[in-house]
Amino acid sequence: MNDATRRVVYATATILSAIYLVLFYFALDGYGYSGHGGSHARASRWYWGGPETFHDPNNRAGSVDGTNRLGGGPESGK
């Protein structure tokens, strides 16, 4: 391995190690799943295969007479 390659390998390993360690903060903070950042927050696109999620109590939330507390789900339309 020549000097130029060695320098690039060491620099790359250092940068990737730093990123790898910083990511522990986000992993332990629950990043990427529904609920991270508040109950309205949806999951990351990198989380696939899970069920559907519903973040509004129902679709009546903006209605004048909506009760706003009926729960979510596919049945939650007006």
Partner: protein
């Protein structure tokens, strides 16, 4: 005659330019970190503690009666049971919820879990249609079913929480069981890191060694 770039192997496998960058070595670094990232993501999906496992408690359900049927609905939604309260000790803890149902033959049921706070107010919910089908064809009888799903979620703040299980379908499942496990953390950050670094490593390795090209060429012969 093809030109050999610095750092790229020639046909004999020797470096064309010893003073150039060895992309194969650099690729190895990315590949190692890619695998390390994916392994770490897998470790974060391990469960650290069982919170609950079993059927929800029907007597403690949020509302004893069915929800009113709304316009356009074909089948009503029923409150199946309530789980909790369970404690979340710190903000942004990650949980894995596994829902399994015994759906009657040739029926479906949308099984939904609502996350409720200590006052039993709705935070968000998740659910999936579960089904069980049987039939006959030229090969004889067949049976297919999808009766379980898994959800990972982050609970944004510490406190007491409930899961309210609801079902929607012409016939309720015979039973529903729910398992809640605390996991070590989110797999997503290290999954992204692992996938991206692996891709960079594979590209650099192709520049240096053309491993995939050579394997593909050997396969065509």
């Amino acid at each position: 005659m093809s030109k050999v770039l610095p750092g790229q192997s020639n046909k004999r496998g020797t470096r064309a330019d010893p003073s150039g960058l060895d992309y194969g070595r650099i690729a190895s670094v990315y590949l190692v970190f890619g695998l390390l990232g994916l392994f770490t993501a897998w470790v974060f999906s391990w469960q650290s503690e069982k919170i609950f496992a079993g059927p929800p408690n029907p007597a403690a359900s949020v509302a004893a009666t069915d929800e009113p049927q709304e316009a356009g609905e074909q089948v009503p939604t029923q409150n199946f049971g309530l789980i909790g309260p369970f404690s979340v000790t710190k903000a942004n803890e990650v949980f894995r919820v596994t829902v399994a149902a015994d759906v009657q033959v040739n029926r479906w049921s949308f099984v939904e879990a609502e996350l409720l706070d200590a006052e039993r107010d709705y935070l968000f919910s998740f659910g999936q249609e579960l089904w069980h089908e049987t039939g006959w064809d030229s090969d004889g009888s067949w049976a297919e079913a999808d009766e379980t799903y898994e959800m990972k979620l982050t609970v944004p703040s510490a406190g007491q929480y409930y899961l309210n299980i609801k079902t929607q379908g012409a016939v309720a499942p015979n039973y529903v069981t729910v398992a809640i496990h605390r996991v070590y953390g989110s797999s997503i950050p290290h999954l992204i890191f692992g996938v991206l670094t692996l891709l960079i490593g594979i590209v650099l390795n192709e520049i240096a060694n053309r491993t995939i090209v050579r394997i593909a060429a050997r396969g065509f012969k």
